[in-house]
């Protein structure tokens, strides 16, 4: 019996090995595209040093459009809530907006984009109940005040997290 691998067998293995290398090369390109995508949406050097003052997150009455009670980080499912932003804390030359995201990363409320001066009368940013639903969905909500450049959010100027209970 020969102690060396049959030449035809080795060729088959080489084809498998090379095919895997080709697939790995394509995969490396895919991952590189991912890195470029990340760099595009998260550009380096976009730090103005400005900080937005988020006064708090409060229980919100959608009928009156007013907030009630004290600043909280946890709300019951049936309760509506809104963040209060002090827009005067930001330089007037920036284009900014404020957004709520739910735990799926879906936009659940927004004001802006505009300059801080234009948003002065929009200090309350309520979370919107999804269309066709009775309450907001439970989970972790993220509130951000962002700076935009060319309509693209490039810097977070303020951030708050709020938990909505399941029950």
């Amino acid at each position: 019996m020969s102690t060396r691998p049959a030449p035809t067998s080795y060729d088959h293995l080489r084809v498998l090995y090379r095919t895997l290398l080709v697939l790995a090369t394509v995969s490396a390109v895919i991952l590189s595209i991912g890195l470029v995508q990340f760099a595009y949406f998260e550009p380096i050097g976009e730090n103005t040093g400005a900080t937005a003052t988020i006064v708090g997150v409060y229980k919100y009455n959608s009928t009156t459009g007013q907030i009630e009670g004290s600043d909280r980080s946890e709300f019951p499912r049936e309760g509506e809530f809104a963040a209060k932003v002090d827009w005067s804390s930001l330089p007037s030359n920036l284009v900014v907006d404020a957004r709520w995201y739910d735990s799926f990363g879906t936009l659940r409320g927004q004001v802006g984009p505009a300059t801080p001066a234009d948003l002065a009368d929009k200090s309350l940013v309520p979370v919107l109940v999804p269309e066709g639903y009775h309450f907001v969905l439970p989970g972790r909500y993220t509130f951000v005040v962002e700076r935009l450049r060319n309509n693209l959010p490039v810097e977070v100027l303020g951030r708050r997290f709020v938990r909505v209970d399941r029950t």
């Binding site: 019996m1 049959a6 790995a24 990363g105 977070v156």
Partner: protein, 455 residues
């Protein structure tokens, strides 16, 4: 002195040392991550992670004893099997208790958790049967396929908890919500989940090299690990989504959609495909001659798996899916377009691997038949090389002699193929077991032949 197929091989002790080092690292990682989860997160997954630690260690230790039981002599084997069964049984019960009490019970209730687990069981079992049958020349033992699935479900999922939590929390505190954050989380899932699943495949290769023959075996074990991971992930997503939408009266529908997406549409496309690529890399490395190429092949498998996972997580949301009736077509198209190319490439590797394996087994069966030692007869070669002919032979035995004859013929066929596989690896200098092992296989075939009734 017993001759070895590759007397100069220094790989064997090295393999076991690497395997032990990996196991030690896994245990340390689990302990550290569980304690950190509990101390810093104090969330439900954190508590599950800590309380489930004992279950994970029991299952890991039990599976290690189980896979090694078949390397021992028959007297010790029985003892090892009993020990392994007790440890795995205790671990599984403890794990279920932990999951029920601390995770799913608090989000959806034990009844919903049990229903979700039951709903995912037949689909996952079906997929495991299909995956095992893909190796049409030389099927892997069920015990190893199930061990692979159990590692994917329990050990791999536990390994990622701390890493993913830290990454996710850091990213949510530092990045702009939207596509940048989503891309970061896609990298997180691709890298951490594929590494944790890939470790299971790598350990199987290091500890059970005799049952890890080539690229086909790698694909089978990798897919089994992926299916195990997918099983537990499906239950977790179904219960979570149920608890979110239940107050709106849509909990059942939401969980059902998750079940369809993960257990029907994505059953073979998602985790099974990704981890099968890791297995393919390890399987190809198994037969490569140089250490450098082995490392490259294993790394290549990991890169493909990570990229496949990343592509789905990062770009699935970019695919247009509207709210009209066309959504049904669109979600299928999305899976086909984003994951289809990876699955198609894997199938191509599998088909090529099966042909490669089949050709070599045929060659070895002919060579063994030509020796005249009686383990394989020349007229048996065409039967052994065809899965359909083998099935026909077993059914023939079933018709004539009953169920016991069917299984006896099955055992004989398996032993004959084991012998051909052993010859193939020995010819390629891919074995470090002594030549005596081949002779023992030959004797076993001859012994089995005496037990098989004349067909």
């Amino acid at each position: 002195m017993i001759a070895s197929a590759d007397p100069q091989s220094r790989l064997r002790p090295g393999r076991y040392r690497i395997a032990l080092a990996i196991i030690a690292l896994i245990v340390v990682a689990l302990v550290v991550s569980s304690i950190l989860n509990y101390v810093y997160l104090d969330s439900i997954p954190g508590r599950t992670s800590l309380y489930g630690l004992l279950a994970v260690v029991l299952i890991a230790f039990g599976t290690f004893i189980l896979v090694n039981a078949y390397n021992r002599d028959p007297a010790m084997r029985r003892k090892s099997l009993i020990r392994a069964s007790v440890l795995i049984g205790l671990g599984a019960l403890l794990w279920l208790l932990v999951i029920d009490v601390f995770l799913f019970t608090q989000s959806a209730g034990p009844a919903v958790a049990a229903l979700c687990a039951l709903a995912c069981l037949p689909t996952t079992a079906f997929a495991l049967v299909v995956v095992r049958r893909m190796d049409r020349n030389h099927k892997e033992p069920w015990r190893l396929v199930l061990v692979a699935a159990a590692w994917g479900a329990i050990v791999a999922t536990s390994l990622v908890v701390w890493g993913e939590t830290v990454w996710e929390q850091s990213a949510q505190h530092a990045l702009v919500p939207g596509p940048g954050l989503d891309t970061s989380l896609a990298f997180m899932a691709g890298i951490l989940e594929e590494l944790s699943k890939g470790i299971a495949v790598l350990l199987l290769f290091l500890v059970m090299r005799n049952e890890f023959d080539d690229v086909v075996d790698g694909i089978v074990y990798g897919a089994a690990v992926g299916l195990g991971f997918n099983y537990l992930e499906s239950i977790s997503y179904m219960t979570n989504i149920y608890s979110i939408f239940a107050p709106e009266g849509a909990g059942g529908v939401a969980a059902g959609v998750q079940w369809y997406g993960r257990q029907v549409l994505g059953l073979f496309f998602g985790h099974a495909t990704y981890t099968a690529f890791i297995g393919a890399g390890v399987g190809i490395a198994r037969q490569l001659p140089s250490m450098r190429k082995k490392v490259i092949a294993i790394a290549a498998g990991f890169i493909v798996a990570i990229a496949g996972h990343f592509a789905w997580d990062a770009w699935a949301a970019l695919f247009p899916v509207d709210t009209t009736i066309f959504v049904i077509v669109e979600i299928h198209l999305r899976t086909l377009i984003l994951e289809g190319p990876f699955t198609a490439a894997l199938i191509a590797l599998l088909i090529f691997g099966i042909r490669y394996e089949g050709q070599n087994l045929r060659e070895q069966l002919h060579k063994e038949a030509a020796t005249g030692l009686g383990a394989i007869l020349p007229e048996e070669v065409p039967i052994l090389t065809s899965p359909w002919q083998r099935l026909k032979q077993r059914l023939h035995a079933l018709n004539r002699q009953g169920v016991r004859a069917y299984f006896k013929v099955s055992r004989l066929q398996t032993a004959q193929l084991d012998l051909a596989m052993e010859r193939w690896h020995r010819e390629r200098k891919e074995l470090d077991t002594p030549l005596e092992a081949e002779q023992r296989l030959r004797e076993r075939v001859i012994q089995l032949r005496h037990w098989v009734p004349a067909a």
